[in-house]
Amino acid sequence: MSQTIFAPWDDPNEKPLIRFENVTKKFGEFVAIDDLSLDIYTQEFFALLGPSGCGKTTMMRMLAGFENPTRGTIELSGQNIVPVPPNKRAVNMMFQSYALFPHLSVRENIAFGLKRDKMDKERIEARVAEMLKLTRLEKFAQRKPHQISGGQRQRVALARSLAKAPKLLLLDEPLGALDKKLRQDTQFELMDIQESTGTTFVIVTHDQEEAMTVASRVAVMDEGRIIQVATPANIYEYPNSVYVADFIGDVNILEGRAKPVGEDRYEVLWHEGVAPVTATSSAPFSDGQTAHLAIRPEKIAISTDRPDNADNAMEGKVLDIAYLGNLSTYHVGLPGGQVIKAQTANTRRIARRDITWEDPVWISWSATAGVLLAE
């Protein structure tokens, strides 16, 4: 490849833009952030992902300066920003509710932050024009926020927070208020803008699809802790825990006891009277240790005949079919009562698909298709 891959987190000489060091945040007795350390690098599009109440919004509010950590430090370009008030930080935020000033026009909203910097008039004008162009809002400059659509308001909020050219832009559920179609378009727009301005973005979202689409790295959070930080592909293909595997996308979890059967190769005895499944794992498991095989539905093949040469194959009956248009998910019941989800792309027209309800089928997957997890 001619292009160098953007991966500053793999470079030991790279200095992080943001460094959380052993940050704890308590609200009374409630621990919102629990001794958390995290590095975010310049020009990253970093996603904080987790269910509501996991602490992701608190992380963002600490970066903006609206909350202060109970313990620990937060550094921006090597400088501790904990004592710096929000109006003195080179950090801007795009609010979930957009927080557009209703009494000001689109132009005045975008110019608001620039005017606070006592910038001279022509430079403000030029910067506002640039922002209007970037977000394709030129035609709406004189309108008030209530006179434009939800998608346009979202772009005004983005333009306003980008106008001051912050070192770091925080986005709090930026697309939550948009409908699905618009959200997908806007995701790509956000990525374009992030790339063209070179600003570091930190996005907070509970939508895993959104995080996967836009982010260079994703941090999956739960109960004030970061469970895993990795690129979207690694989060999906190599989750480090059942929690992450389950939170991101759809997954089958087969829980059982591991039994080493060769180098990096294990059998998982997961159910009485059912053949053990075979899986590879670079992480070692001792004999009899609890192991969870996490396997994505699309990694499981479904067929009417017994497949040849499959590492794992079992027979079952189709209980349910979820037809999603491009994909179909089959719920296959095994003789022991377990249900395994298998997914196939609908490359053929519906009339010619041959598997239907109650059909006896075979499901199969290779030893490398899943991930073996201790917890």
């Binding site: 903006a64 927080a99 608001f112 926020p145 209530h146 659509s149 939800g150």
Partner: protein, 273 residues
Amino acid sequence: MRRLSWFNVTSLTLGFAFLYLPMLILVIYSFNASKLVTVWAGFSTRWYGELIQNEAFLGAAWVTLKVALMSSTLATLLGTMAAYVLVRGGRFLGRTLFSGMIYAPLVMPEVITGLSLLLLFIGIGLDRGVLTIVLAHTTFSMCYVSVVVSSRLVSFDRSLEEAALDLGCSAWDAFRLVTLPIIAPAVIAGWLLAFTLSLDDLVIASFTAGPSATTLPIKIFSAVRLGVSPEINALSTIMIAIVATGVITASLISKRASLRAQKEAQAAERASG
């Protein structure tokens, strides 16, 4: 439009008659040509003419107006500040106590408020006059302002202020440039309310007024003790008109503001939907 049943019509008539019949009679008799208050002798605006020539009444009216303007402005300032701290200050020590205490003067008997203020002014040796009435009126009307303003602040999106801070505003700039323009209708409504409250107050003013300054309600009350004159009817009619205008304007302003907010929300929904 739905037709009202006879029962509803009767209750409505009775209720409104109870409320407004005395005032209506007063207004009608203010246009009476006769010098005797209870005898109708034809329509005339004669008493309004005589009123304009009555120096004592005009002086009292001027004092009342001055007091109302100053006290309502002061009350608006203090009431808005109090509302802001109570709604926005977060959970500080004694917040519940303070917010309870700010509403207490609403239900406190005016006689007690007046008496305690009188004792205070005597205690600190302040001569009773315009200043003491202004202070007294500010005291009791600022809690009305604070009620009106805090109800607006409660429904105010907090993130607007955070956005202002985030974009480089100091706390004062955020209040001046973002919060105040948005809550302005409530502040104006609060001012008008305080203004009309001060205009028609008799009890507290009579405790705190001195020989150098008498307000119109006090003047009317003392004049009536010597017998009701048609002039007083004319004066009262004018006061009813002023107070009614103030109250109606205040309620129209707050209603228009909430209607506009509703329309904006609807327009936004349509646009995004």
